[in-house]
Subunit: 211 residues, 2 copies
DNA sequence: TTCACGCTGTGTAATATTTCACAATTAAAG
DNA sequence: CTTTAATTGTGAAATATTACACAGCGTGAA
């Protein structure tokens, strides 16, 4: 029934994350069923697209009653989440880094920032927002010790590439990069860049085109 | 020569922004020519793709010498930038908002954050990082007064949709949304959502899939 | 000049992603 | 039970995006 291991596209993974967040809201509000066209609005997509996405998680929609919210959440979790909680490192504890620390701290079930890294002497050694800050030369050690799989990179642009390489060398498997640099690597590490400058310039461009 | 007004895709606009940032670096370093395959590395793309992108800005590449850096920068600016500097509003002056304010302040030539908005009484009325913070009910007034075209939305998820609607009503033409909510609207306003939670969950997912 | 090389510009092919459209299924009403 | 209305799952079409491949041109060397 479940066609095992057809690779799921990045776009679908992104949408699944969005669906799940909304489904959890629905659950909180006591709604226990949902239709594909309701989810479609969330991503400015079509109902058919939603159904295709959900098929890939082994969907269990019911004709004319839609999908069961709690089951969908479970199915998506089975796909997106690892069985054990994922440990995340935050690299760079400047203004942006601290904001991200606050943003990602709290009620996350399946991942958590467990270590900070920064070379500034006034930061490393300290505990910031409840997390210990280490210097970069402890990276490999801590990554191993805490089984950290993923890093959030919030260092200045000039330091991004070198730092990313250090992360890769330390055994990190994925990087969420906030520095305005697209990082290239020949390794199999997954790098997702959230380029805020690019996004703002794009928004400014289309502010004039969408009359 | 320049085939007027074939619509340029969002993806191309994003890449152009990235090319330009790199080109400015090259210029600073005294390099005055660049090949399409050099730019291709930046976006993990192919040389052909870069050449297609550059064609759309009216490219002027020269066989066997590549593109002239300063001319490319000018051509891209002619496409991406407006003639006058764009005024930006930042909505939500929490931790993330302040970090974004720092991030986007400084040496930007073609846009600038000129006004902050937040309803917290300890913030509105004050000047933060050199920018005045207003309360949300002054929005329409200030947007008109300062000719603000674009807003950066950094409010909590619960407030995102309502605030976005207020922005649209006030005449904003584009929104860069940092709240973890996908905002739907029937208006022609351009909305770009930078969904950090989605991005992190995606990174975590692929940290396990990329062997 | 002539040749060889390397790069651009672009038609065409290939791939990825989304949408359409409809048979099958379920629920509910009569 | 039969009919009606609504929704799912999915093949096939449509669209969007990327990559290939090569003609043509400029450059530099002989």
């Amino acid at each position: 029934m479940n066609k095992l291991k057809q690779k799921i596209s990045e776009k679908t993974i992104e949408r699944l994350s969005i669906y799940r967040r909304y489904l959890k809201d629905l659950q909180k509000n006591g709604k226990d069923r949902v239709y594909s066209h309701e989810l479609a609005q969330l991503v400015s997509g079509t109902a058919a697209q939603v159904r295709r996405d959900l098929m890939q998680v082994g969907s269990n929609g019911c004709s004319s009653k839609g999908y069961e919210v709690s089951m969908l959440i479970d199915e998506i979790a089975k796909l997106l989440d690892c069985s054990e909680k994922q440990n995340i490192a935050l690299i760079g504890v400047g203004n942006l880094g601290r904001a991200l620390l606050g943003y990602f701290s709290g009620s996350r079930e399946n991942y958590d920032i467990v270590a900070l890294f920064d070379n500034a002497p006034d930061k490393c050694g300290r505990v910031i927002c409840g997390k210990r800050c280490y210097s970069m030369n402890q990276l490999t050690e801590i990554v191993k010790e805490q089984k950290i799989s993923t890093a959030i990179l919030a260092v200045p642009a000039e330091a991004a590439e070198e730092t990313a390489q250090n992360l890769i060398d330390a055994g990190i498997k994925a990087i969420l990069n906030f520095a305005p640099r697209h990082i290239t690597t020949r390794s199999r590490v997954f790098i997702e860049t959230l380029d805020m400058t690019k996004a703002l310039e794009k928004a400014i461009y289309f502010s004039r085109k969408n009359t």
